[in-house]
């Protein structure tokens, strides 16, 4: 189980992700509770597509960021990811997955399933490939994976 405070500290301070937008998801409550305005900025978005637009715009302006969402709605972003690929705008999607791996489509993007203490290695791997290939990277929080 990953501690939310540790997750944010590593993502924001070590990996320099500072701009977040997303749609409320019950599975991500531990992350919301431990958000720290001193090291990050979060914008509640009307929908996942808007969150992706916000984070992409922030990235073009020089700020790394991530979309927070329920993975059930990842299908809504399939077209929008093409925008990120076309314009080479990397970002992270931090999604909560209440089901199995088959619950959402497979993309040719880096994916990590966060379930335990090795989350830093998983984050490093996804961030590194996302930045190198300038594509979205998916960080999937599994059920019960956060505290």
């Amino acid at each position: 189980m990953v501690k939310a405070t540790e997750f944010w500290n590593y993502l924001c301070e070590e990996l320099d992700y500072r701009f977040f937008a997303g749609v409320a998801c019950p599975g991500l409550v531990p992350l919301y509770k431990k958000m720290n305005a001193d090291i990050m900025h979060y914008i509640p978005a009307a929908n996942e597509k808007i969150a992706l637009g916000l984070v992409s715009g922030a990235r073009i302006a020089g700020n790394k960021g991530a979309v927070l969402m329920d993975m059930r709605f990842i299908y809504d972003l399939t077209d929008s990811f093409k925008f990120n690929v076309d314009y080479s705008i990397p970002l992270l999607v931090i999604g909560y997955n209440s089901g199995g791996e088959d619950e959402f489509p497979s993309y040719d993007f880096p994916v990590a399933f966060i379930i335990g203490e090795s989350f830093k290695d998983d984050l490093n791997r996804v961030v590194s490939r996302s930045e190198d290939e300038k594509v979205p990277g998916l960080i999937v929080i599994e059920k019960g994976g956060l505290s």
Binding site: R18, F19, A21, M35, A37, D38, M40, H41, Y42, I43, P44, A45, A46, N47, K49, I50, A51, L52, G53, L54, V55, S56, G57, A58, R59, I60, A61, G62, N63, D79, S80, K82, F83, D86, Y87, S88, I89, K134
Partner: protein, 210 residues
Amino acid sequence: MKRHNVVKHFISFLTENDVAIFSGSELCKEAYAYDRPGNFYLEDTFGLAVSFALGVALCSDKKVFVFVGEGDLLRDLSSAAQASASSCKNLILVVLDNGVYQGVSNQPNIFDRLVSKRGLFYDMGFLVQDYTKHFRDSKFKQLKNIINRLKGPVVVLIELSAGINKKIESLFVDKIEAGSNLTEFLTRAPKDDRIDNKKPLNLDQGGGIN
């Protein structure tokens, strides 16, 4: 006035620090004829133009103009609501309203059937400016002064005559290069020393976590 003429004049009103984001293939082609640093073209709109522009505006002190057709905006009105809720002072949403989908044989859309176009945006919390008459009467000097003083979040409404300039050539933009050019434009040292281009992220806007 037709859209390509409005676009031509509007671009001439922008300062060299302004960002202009255009959404939709025909609109992008028309704007590209007057290309300038700070222009960014979203040919395949993906319905992201307004939220993308808002993300840019929230992280920059440059004024960000986002040009969308009314049909394009209707597909994702919640992005306009998001822009208004942000209270972002450097975002200007320019709605170019010709009442039809020009790229699709002028098929009508529902924008003209709305009881109040202004009211739609006003009730979201925008300041709404209608410059239709200014453009129709060619009051360009006056328009330039007004536009340079605009503070967002504001919606600029301009009603247009339908019609595409068929002489305008296709758009050939390397999207990857366009993205890095915009990043460079946004992060370069400002011409105006009074402007700090890198806005800190402890933003007092956008409905943040504070």
